[in-house]
Structure formats: structure tokens, C-alpha cells
């Protein structure tokens, strides 16, 4: 019996600083209803979906920063979304800034959750690959201070859900082959990824016209090379004066694009995804048990980069 999952993308247009959580949740609920009317089992929302993309600003006052973080989930602002999901029996992926307390310590994460059709949170992910920088860099047209405002997660888990094996990643994670591979080794069948990607990348502005191409290339390669569905969903359009790419899309395990958003606004698109299709790749070209060669992969975990070892210490660089 085929295992189909109907996946909706709930692409968001801009969320401005003046917009309240309630404003945004109303938009998410509107898209959830539309997704349900199209037969969706789950709707995928972007990264940091509840607020504007605040890492674009350098702010020194921690209290001001913390206002963009959620201290509980659900909370009064998001409870209606959970209630609607439960009443309509639809799952969702949601990205938000999380302020957690772990063993008495305050932690800030760029977080996503996976919610099942009963409205229960069944998975939580902390973004591993935080892009950008830590200090204010006034030469940039705008900042990208994720390394300042968040600390990185350190694991990619998978979850039995919706009749298959689901995983999560966030934004910049999608450019790193390791993201998909760690989940591929756990049999992932669908990877859900929300993102906020400015068209303009200050360190290499001459490649701004390739932003959409790089987005698709990364999602397609991750899908194909692990025999998994990949769903990428944007917060798109001109947010607080900054243009962000759209390009939300659903990629099959063949690497083919099966659904796309075509606007820079709130937009729902859907695909009918056969999870068993993954086996066409997982059992053939990408049968890891037969074809991977970990003996040749040592440097991937031994080194961080060209000059640093995995612990961030200087290493001898070859070549």
C-alpha cells in the first residue's frame, strides 16, 4: 500500500517589526485552513515565522532582543494555531526563536518543531549551522547576527510521523551536505526546512543573482543523494526594506521539483508525496549499507575546516 503524505507549503510574505504574534498567527491559520481544504496532512511554515527576521539588526539591550523569543510553546499567542491544527487534524512544522532554560541556564535557539495531527509537539530541532557573524559590522547594508543571538544545536534527529520518518533542518543547514546525510543514515524520508534568505549577501554581493539557484541546488542535491523528500519553505519578499528570496519548493527523492511557490507573499502550494518512492534511491544508487566507504571519510568529523580541527584547535594543513 503506497504511503502518501500530502504536504503543503505555507510560504509567508514579509513580517514587519510592528506586526504582533497574533497578526502572524492569524495568517498562519488562514493558510492552514487553505492547506486542509486541499487535503494536506501537514503544513510547513518558515524559519522564525512568528516575527520579523530580527538578526538583521544589531541591538545591545538583551531585553529588547528577548522580546522576539518564545519562552513556552504553545503560548497564548500560538495556542489558537495548535487548537486549529487539532480540530482539523493537520500537522505542522513551525520555526521560531526559543528562549529555553536548561539546568538553570538561559539558552537562545533558532528552533523548529514538528506537531502531529493531535496538536502534540513530537519533535524539536535547534539550528546547527548558524550563518553570519557575531559582532556589529556597520559596513554591511544590514546585519546577519545569528551567531550573536543564538547558540547552535548539535544533532539532527528523525521522528516517526505521518506514516514515515521525518527530519528537520533550518535555513543555512540546507547548504551543508552533512545535514541531509546524518538524517539519511537514520532512514529519513522527508526533511522539512524553513528559511529566511536575503537576496543580498554582503560578503559576496556579486553572486546575489544566484541566490535562488543555490537554494534549489542545495535542496535537490540533498534529496537525491539521500533518497528523501525535501520541503523548503521561505519567508519571502521585502521585509523591513530587505528583499528576501521566495522559491519555496518540494523536491522528490529523484531531485525533481514537484511543487513550487511562485509569489513573494503568503502562498499555499501542495504536493502528493509517496514516501515509498524513497526506496527507488535508498535501495539502489544510494544504498548506504552497500556503497558508503566511511574509512575514507575521517576528515569530515576530524576537522572543522582547512586550518582547525574538530575542537577548533589549529591543525597542520595539507596541500
Amino acid at each position: 500500500m503506497p504511503r502518501y503524505v500530502n504536504v503543503a507549503m505555507g510560504q509567508l510574505g514579509p513580517v514587519n517589526r510592528a506586526d504582533s504574534r497574533q497578526d502572524v498567527v492569524a495568517r498562519l491559520m488562514e493558510m492552514m485552513r487553505e492547506a486542509k481544504s486541499l487535503g494536506a496532512d501537514i503544513i510547513v511554515y518558515p524559519e522564525l515565522a512568528l516575527t520579523t527576521f530580527f538578526p538583521r539588526w544589531y541591538i545591545e539591550d538583551q531585553n529588547t532582543i528577548d522580546e522576539w523569543f518564545e519562552t513556552a510553546m504553545p503560548n497564548p499567542a500560538t495556542q489558537p494555531l495548535f487548537d486549529l491544527a487539532k480540530s482539523m487534524q493537520i500537522g505542522f512544522y513551525l520555526g521560531y526563536a526559543e528562549l529555553a532554560r536548561e539546568d538553570g541556564e538561559v539558552k537562545h535557539y533558532n528552533t523548529s518543531i514538528l506537531v502531529d495531527k493531535t496538536g502534540e509537539i513530537i519533535g524539536k530541532y535547534h539550528k546547527v549551522h548558524l550563518p553570519g557573524h557575531r559582532e556589529n559590522e556597520p559596513w554591511r547594508a544590514f546585519q546577519h547576527l545569528e551567531k550573536r543571538y543564538f547558540e547552535p544545536g548539535n544533532r539532527f534527529d528523525v521522528y516517526p510521523a505521518f506514516g514515515g520518518v521525518f527530519g528537520m533542518a533550518i535555513c543555512n543547514d540546507r547548504r551543508w551536505a552533512e545535514t541531509y546525510r546524518v538524517m539519511g543514515l537514520q532512514g529519513v524520508e522527508m526533511v522539512l526546512i524553513g528559511y529566511n534568505t536575503p537576496v543580498h549577501n554582503a560578503p559576496a554581493p556579486e553572486h546575489d543573482d544566484l541566490s535562488l539557484f543555490h537554494n534549489q541546488l542545495s535542496l535537490q542535491a540533498g534529496a537525491y543523494q539521500n533518497g528523501t523528500w525535501v520541503v523548503g519553505v521561505a519567508k519571502a519578499g521585502c521585509e523591513e526594506g530587505i528583499e528576501q528570496i521566495g522559491g519555496s519548493c518540494i523536491i522528490a527523492p529523484s531531485g525533481e521539483i514537484v511543487a513550487s511557490c511562485i509569489s513573494k507573499h503568503d502562498e499555499v502550494a501542495i504536493a502528493h508525496c509517496d514516501l515509498d518512492f524513497c526506496q527507488k534511491y535508498k535501495k539502489t544508487t544510494f544504498n548506504f549499507d552497500i556503497h558508503r566507504q566511511p574509512a575514507a571519510y575521517g576528515p569530515i568529523t576530524q576537522y572543522k575546516g582547512e586550518t582547525l580541527d574538530a575542537n577548533g584547535q589549529r591543525r597542520i594543513c595539507r596541500g
Copy 2:
């Protein structure tokens, strides 16, 4: 001062069983002269360039098999190619089947070499990811017995050459993100890859029409995600009744295709490649020292696949 390398692709049309090494070397020399006339510093030839792609046949007699292997390099048949390279001052990458003797043991490798402008072999690579199967499978239209005829290599090295940092891989290696990453961690600036890829893949024939797409997707993702040039060169066309993809191409560190072969015959195409262009990616989005997170990558070296650990033993499978 920009560091340009002019790279030629020496795509081969079919090589049939009746063709001698001398026949093939004459074709390689013809393309080498053409490449030199176009200003090439190096020409890249395919995998197993000196013979037909013999793993398509199941053969029990080891002596018959060994006739496709080279016991020395250069040897009388290939010496003229080395001599021409030296006299014209052009380097080359060449793939061939190698019969080696290591500590008194006979080893069979799917090998490539990197030869500099003085005709010296400065690098040798043994294919890590051997595709296909070990036993005769008569249900297939043709066999793919690389796992029977070769043993795998276990390392991806890089070499200072042509004013930059060069690496090698062979055919199926290009589909595995680990291939590029291990070399990326050594600062590779150009990865040379020869291949023989039948259009028809017996285990998943319904995806034969995607063969060229998967070729490009893998090469483009490997280039972009490591900020390196990638050169893929085919043995193309109908060889011994089997159609093989062409699609030889040169990919920039941006993931863009900058040169392509457009036939299924012997064909030379060239690109003028700025090795410093790599830094646009290696110092920004893919600055590994700043952005990689090895603490999250453990499973990549710890496990072979969904059910096996790195040593091929059963592991508990999550999810």
C-alpha cells in the same frame, strides 16, 4: 595576480573491445594536440580510458580480465602520450585499470593519475566508491561488476599542481558528497573526475531519463558546497551496444556550468578557470573554519548505512 588554469576536457567516444591501447592512445594524442592548440594547461580524460568498459561483462577467467589492466604506467602503449605531453608541456588526468603489486599481493584498482607538464606522474588515486555488484546477475541487460573486479581505495588526497590545489575522483564518487568534502577540507581548488555512465541503470530503469540531470546535479553541488572547480569527463556514446551518457562539463565554484561537450564522440572543450574565484565561496558561505559543526556529524564516520556501523557490523537503527 589571477591564477588561471586552462582546462580541456578530452571526452572520448566509444572504445570497443577490438580497439587496441595503441588505437586509443592515438585518439588521446589527437585530442591533446587540439587542447594544446586551444591553450590548455591540462587535459582531462575519462575513467578507464584505455579500454572498453569491461565491468559490463561477467568473465570467470582471471587472465582474460587482467588483460584490461595496466601493470606499469607509463608502459609501451602509453609512453607516446607521456612523451607528447612532455614535449608540448601540457598536463593530463587519465583513468585506467591498474594491476598493482603491494607487499607481494596483487591488487586491482580503478585508478586515475595526474601528470604534470614535464610528463611526471605527481598523483595517483584509487576509486573509493565502486558501484554495481559482485556476482553475475543474468537478469540485467548487462552487468556492472566493479565490486567484483576492483578493490576500493580509502583516501582522497590533494596535490599542489598547475599553481593550485588539485584533487581526483572517479565516476560514482561524484554522487557522494563526502568525496568533495574530504578534499574541500584540504583546500582543493579543482577536482578532476572521469566517468563511464550507462544511460540504463538496471535496478531503477524508470529513472534512466534523469541520468544527465543527476550527473550535473552532483557535480554542481560538489563544486558549490566546497568552493571548488569541478571537471567531469565522460566516455560517451554507444559502446559495445550500450548507450553511455556524455554531458562532460566544467563547473565553477558558483555551481555554474562554464563549458560543456555536446556530442557523444571524441570532443575537446575548454574553459579558462580562475583558481582565485574559489575564495569567493571558501571565505564566505563555505568558510569551513567558521561555519562547519563537526560535533553534529558523528554518524557520517560512525555508520556505513542505515543498518551497519563503519566496520560493517549490525548497528541499532534509530527512527
